[in-house]
Structures are given as C-alpha cells and as structure tokens.
C-alpha cells in the first residue's frame, strides 16, 4: 500500500468513526427511554423523504423539518397510531413524493416499468445483432482456388520486398 493510500484510508476511517459516534449519542438517550417505539420511529423515518433535502430520509436528515416530523411521528407512536396511519398522515400533507418507495399507480408506471422495458429493448437489440452476425458468418464463403493462389502470390510479393 502506498503512503498516499494509507493516509486517505485513515482519513476516511476517522470520518466515519466520528459521524457514527455523533449519531449514536443523539439517539442513545431516546432509545433508552423506549426501545420498541424508537425502533418503530427509526423504521418509519427511513421510509419517508425529507422534503427539504429531498435525497435524504427523515432518519438521515438533520434539517429542521425532519426533526419536527420525527417529533410528530414519536407523538403519534405514543398515542397508539398504527404504521399505516402515520404514513397516511404524511402522504395527506406532502403527497406521494414523501414516500421513498412510490406506490404503483398510473403516474408511476413508467418509473416502475421503465427499467424492465429498457432491459427488454436491450435484449431485443442484442438478439438482432447476434442473428445478423451469425448470418454474416455463414455468408462468408471460403476462397476459391483462383483467389487462393492470387492471395498467395500477393503475400509472397510482400515478403520479397
């Protein structure tokens, strides 16, 4: 391992170690109070998008709104709401966009079906290409005797030069 790689890996290790401690410090007190509820909160907030950062879940994000929503979820868990009721609460306010796993429906068909369609298209193109290539190979005729001797003569001419 080069010195440079060593330094880079140390920096990374230190970075991850430090963020892990910060995260665990924040959660520890709350988890100690009610581990079951905190686990539900964690699970639910990993399903929900933080609309401020958009590419983070409510669990990952430290935006004000994510904190508020985690507090809101904690309150709903404490008042005995089911997971579905809590998710619905969010969808009613923020729309399907708040769900990290968008529901399958008319408007999301392309999203869910798109990759499959693209894969089928790729397979189709691949198959067509392979067929064409196979046809080209069988179309290749061996050289006739006359062509053979001409090729040989040409090669010989090259060698003599």
């Amino acid at each position: 391992m080069s010195v440079r790689a060593l330094i880079v890996s140390c920096v990374f290790a230190a970075f991850f170690a430090s963020t892990a401690t910060i995260a665990s410090e924040i959660n520890e007190a709350a988890v100690a109070a009610d581990p079951v509820a905190e686990k539900r909160l964690q699970g639910l907030s990993e399903e929900l998008r933080c609309l401020v950062c958009q590419n983070q879940t409510i669990a990952d994000s430290n935006a004000e709104l994510a904190q508020d929503l985690r507090r809101e979820i904690r309150g709903m868990i404490a008042s005995g709401k089911s997971d579905k009721e809590i998710i619905d609460f969010m969808v009613v306010r923020y729309g399907d966009f708040v769900l990290y796993r968008p529901p399958v429906k008319g408007i999301t068909l392309l999203l869910w079906g798109g990759p499959i369609v693209l894969m089928l298209l790729g397979l189709f193109i691949l198959q067509r290409y392979l067929r064409r290539r196979a046809r080209r190979m069988t179309d290749d005729q061996p050289l006739s005797a006359a062509e053979n001797s001409r090729a040989e003569a040409l090669l010989k001419e090259l060698d003599n030069k």
């Binding site: 609309l51 401020v52 958009q54 004000e64 709104l65 508020d68 929503l69 809101e72 969808v91 009613v92 306010r93 923020y94 729309g95 399907d96 966009f97």
Partner: protein
C-alpha cells in the same frame, strides 16, 4: 452512415431531456392539498395576541395564505411583490408566520421558556413588518410549526389560494415573482371571485 445518424439522434434526445430536466424546479412538488379543504387551525393574531383566527373566519371570501418568517431570506425577495399586491387588490392576504424563533437556528430552544419564545416571536415579527412594510390583512403566529406541517410546508415562503368554500385551489412554493403573480395567481383570483 445511417447508424451514426441514429447515435447522434439518440444523443440529441438525451441532451434535450437533460435540458428540460434542468429547467424544472425540484422544489415544485405537487401538493396533495390542492382541491382539499384548507386544514383547520386557530392561531393567535400578531396584532391582537389574545384573539385567534382560522380558515373558518375567512369563509365566503377568496383569500391568500402566505407563509413567511423574518429569518427567511427568500421572503425578503418576495415581500415587495406582496406589498405591491396588497395596494392593488382587495383580496385579503393573511400571513402565517412560521416558527419565527425556533426556525431561526440561532437560539438554544432548550434554554428558552414558552413565554419568552412567544414574546420574542411577536416582537421579531412586528419589527420585520414595520421595516419592510405590512401587506397582510393580519398575520397569525405558528410558533412550533404544527400548522405548517398540516399545510405541508417545507420551504418558506409558500402561498395558498383558498376559495370561498375554504378549498385550497393553488399552492406556490418559493418566492412569488411578479410573473407568477400576474400570470397564475391574479387570473385564478379573478376567476374565483366571479
């Protein structure tokens, strides 16, 4: 040669798609609240803190609900447009001050009592409006942002157009530009007020 046209065409299509994508506003998330009744609330009024206001009090009127805060930078950009609007239009504009103190980020909320927060929030909101002009018929104070959650607020400023029956007809996220006001909001208000 034919094949190169194909590749070039596919590339051009990709560039076109990316260009369209870059032109879109990622904050413009369609609100599920459009077409639904405005969520009820009852919040203290900035000018008269012992009185409250809610959507029920506005029934029978087409009105605008504008979410703002003194710490919100984009609100400052939008504010002159609102001031101008309030001078020209009779449509009541109600302000919803969102998390005036705790949204600021500059205060340690664990060290502040509820009373202190309330006092500070009202004072800050009043100061801001006297500095920048007050376009609002009145402003209500959402100190903890709970009403904001009911309205699906995620980026101040946000503006809702609410019709006579109390149904949300439009939501605009982000600052209102003169363009948005003239081309989208004003025509809608005219139509709703017919």
């Amino acid at each position: 040669m034919n094949r190169y046209y194909w590749i070039l065409g596919a590339f051009a299509a990709l560039v076109a798609l990316l260009a369209i994508g870059l032109g879109l506003n990622p904050r413009d998330v369609p609100s599920p609240l459009v077409g639904k009744p405005a969520p009820a609330f009852s919040l203290p009024i900035l000018a008269t803190p012992n009185k409250t206001l809610g959507p029920k009090d506005m029934e029978g009127k087409v009105w605008l609900l504008n979410v703002w805060s003194s710490w919100c930078v984009s609100c400052r950009q939008e504010h002159p447009v609102l001031v101008e609007f309030s001078k020209k239009s009779d449509v009541p504009l109600v302000g919803l001050n969102y998390k005036e103190v705790r949204g600021d980020g500059g205060f340690d909320m664990s060290k502040m009592s509820a009373d202190d927060e309330k006092k500070l929030a009202f004072q800050r909101a009043n100061t801001w409006l006297s500095q920048h002009g007050d376009p609002y018929k009145l402003t209500v104070m959402d100190l903890d942002g709970r009403v904001g959650i009911d309205y699906g607020v995620y980026g101040v400023p946000e503006t809702y157009v609410i019709d006579k029956a109390g149904v949300i007809r439009m939501k605009h996220t982000g600052p209102i530009s003169p363009d948005v006001l003239g081309k989208k909001i004003m025509p809608l208000l005219a139509e709703l007020n017919k």
